[in-house]
Amino acid sequence: QQQVKQSPQSLIVQKGGISIINCAYENTAFDYFPWYQQFPGKGPALLIAIRPDVSEKKEGRFTISFNKSAKQFSLHIMDSQPGDSATYFCAVHSGAGSYQLTFGKGTKLSVIP
């Protein structure tokens, strides 16, 4: 059973546009929601993360929107740049005795000039 569902699978955005990636989860015990960025041949790197006590977090061009009642969270990349072209993974974590991250299947973002 997939604990976190991520969409879309791939995304093409023009330079300067907004990239939006969505994730949905079922387990209300999850209490930490990070987004990771992965370039080819590299390991994932933490981009931004949010806890469920806030509805939005912004860091530079990257924003997480969190909807606790809908059990959904999304990543918005403003003013998308070709250097943002990568695969993005949402993840969930339950702090209740669990230390593992559970990842979505990923979204391959291509930002075209």
Binding site: Q6, Y36, P44, A91, G95, G97, Y99, Q100, L101, F103
Partner: protein, 115 residues
Amino acid sequence: GAGVSQTPSNKVTEKGKYVELRCDPISGHTALYWYRQSLGQGPEFLIYFQGTGAADDSGLPNDRFFAVRPEGSVSTLKIQRTERGDSAVYLCASSPLAGGHNEQFFGPGTRLTVL
């Protein structure tokens, strides 16, 4: 400072062989994790170490997989009697403290190909 390093970067083996994959975490990080990433998928949790002990090995797919961290630093993931389905990128991550919401820093991975 140096990040998480993994060796080898690529490993090609034949079905039925034994392989060892090594992870050097960031110095001072007490928590270490192994994940497996199949093509087109997100990383899947395998095992978590706190210090020298495996605190959670619930993600290991079967008893052919085993991992150790004898001195609380370097870790080795061992796979016996490899199968073609074991082909994937094996990722190691470390974090400064145990559990909770501490950021996990990932290495570049070892790409394992079982022929």
